[in-house]
Amino acid sequence: MREPHRVRVGYIPLTDCAPVVMAALKGHDRRHGIHIELTRAPSWAAIRDGLITGALDAAHALYGLVYGVEMGIGTSPQAMAVLMTLNRNGQAITLTRRLFERGVTDGTSFARLIRADPRRYTFAQTFPTGTHALWLYYWLASHGVHPFRDIGNLTVSPPQMVAHLASGSIDGYCAGEPWNAHAVERGTGFTVATSQGIWPEHPEKVLACAEPFVSAQPAVACALIRAVLEACRDLDTEQGRREAAQALSGPDYLDVPAMVLEDRLQGRYVDGLGGAWVDAHPVRFHDHGQVNYPWLSDGMWFLTQFKRWGLLASHPDYVSVARRVNRIALYREAAAELGIPTPEAEMRSAVLMDGRVWDGSAPQAYAEGFAIQGMMWSDAA
């Protein structure tokens, strides 16, 4: 028998690294003739550099990060590829208990406090071109708060968030799970918004690689998609989620109690202010392949926000960029082999929290149509 092809896959310890981790732990990789070698990365910058230098073949990555590298934001432009979407939903914005003591319980009361006392509060996200930065900015701006002028804004790695919130050095953050559930459990913070409350069924992490990997070894890339797709399919069952919560809670991965992980993984939320609900848009890994299909409009949305916040000086050719990054054809091939249906369309439609419709049809007008936008430069230092 032929030796399975080794594929080095990087991930950041977060609940939604489950697809790549479970693909390896459950042996889906072997069944498709590959061997996934997992590498836990210390930072998103390390994931990016690993993909660019070839130290990693593929990775669990923030959707926006991949498009940021493609466009040369913060580095020289590098051709990147999105092989599939790993999940939707399941991120959140946490605020410190101290803000609750000042009367903040939701976006409206939060905005009132910030407007009364601008630039006094500091909020963190996880990477400058990442999804959490963009969810946080979208939520703030929808409440009339400018993310660069009205608040302090910095990047902090997710496992450090709760400690910084407790010490008072930040007043809130947007990050992936389990770090929001963790703050609620510790009593240091409360969940003021979920990312699915900002955009129901938003795309979140992707399986990414650098373009040379997929063009040199399309068959290996296709096998990797199949293995991770199978893991995603498992993860949309209650049993699959329970297994993942158990596995990820271990010291090699997240090193937190399985219960902290499992509740939100199953869609069960408590917000730390007495609210509890089963979410209509919980973290989703598959949904008959609807989640995993690399919709062009999903990728394009991140470009519109880069333009909105001045990370891009001019409008890119939105559709062309998405078409070369998102490997729809390769994904279709992998999905077909597993009998997973794929949509005909390349765009999907969504209504975000501010009522604006995003369907990929007029990206330039969409990017220009926000009341709050502008450069993220600070002229200090």
Binding site: P42, A45, I52, F127, L154, P159, S378, A381
Partner: protein
């Protein structure tokens, strides 16, 4: 940005900031850097102090441990601080020459220093600075070209708008834009963009 180019003044030592959560590793690096003639302005242990430290101490170079989660914090600072972007140099004890070559070739704004001996640090930091400056210059030229292109497009669209809405000829539309630019002391492209944005609102 780095040392003075005027030979009559004594060169000011390059100001270096170290970011590493491992105190012993950080201390060793500080010793090696000091011996190599650099001035270590701070040794930071965690990300939260970084924005203020970078702003206050104005290091020429930031050196960060390759395995540090604070690399993401530095990414944000260098992206959002327009005036003084600075090279970020990574260090690791196990980084092989191959990794360094790959990172340099790919143009990521980070370099790997393997080993901490003073005689090896200087050439690597010098190469890092030189490459960073070259990359910066290239990025600025690119941004300038993009801006000009975008402005030219905006001028064309604004001319079209004036022709359509006011029934002007192309020449008249252009003269009108130029008149507005002179009147407001702005560039032609800026005036065109303002006009287009206003039209978009109506």
């Amino acid at each position: 940005m780095p040392r003075s180019k005027d030979p009559s003044t004594a060169p000011e030592p390059l100001r270096v900031m170290i970011v590493d959560s491992d105190p012993e590793r950080s201390r060793n690096l500080r010793g090696a850097l000091t011996l190599a003639g650099y001035r270590v302005v701070a040794e930071l242990r965690e990300s939260i102090a970084l924005p203020d430290a970078v702003q206050g101490l104005k290091p020429h170079i930031v050196i960060v441990a390759a395995d540090s989660p604070d690399r993401d914090t530095l990414e944000h600072i260098s992206l959002t601080t327009r005036n003084a972007p600075r090279p970020v140099v990574m260090f690791t004890q196990d980084g092989g020459a191959e990794t360094i070559r790959a990172a340099v070739k790919a143009g990521v704004s980070a370099y790997v220093v393997d080993g901490l001996s003073p005689e090896r640090i200087r050439p690597i930091l010098e190469v890092a600075c030189a490459r960073f400056e070259a990359h910066q210059a290239l990025a600025e030229r690119l941004a300038e070209t993009e801006r000009k292109l975008a402005e030219r497009k905006a001028v064309e669209r604004a001319k079209g708008l004036l022709m359509q809405r006011r029934g002007l000829s192309e020449d008249e539309a252009y003269r009108e834009l130029r008149r507005l630019a002179m009147q407001t002391g702005k560039r032609l492209g800026e005036v065109a963009e303002t006009l287009l944005a206003a039209a978009h609102l109506l």
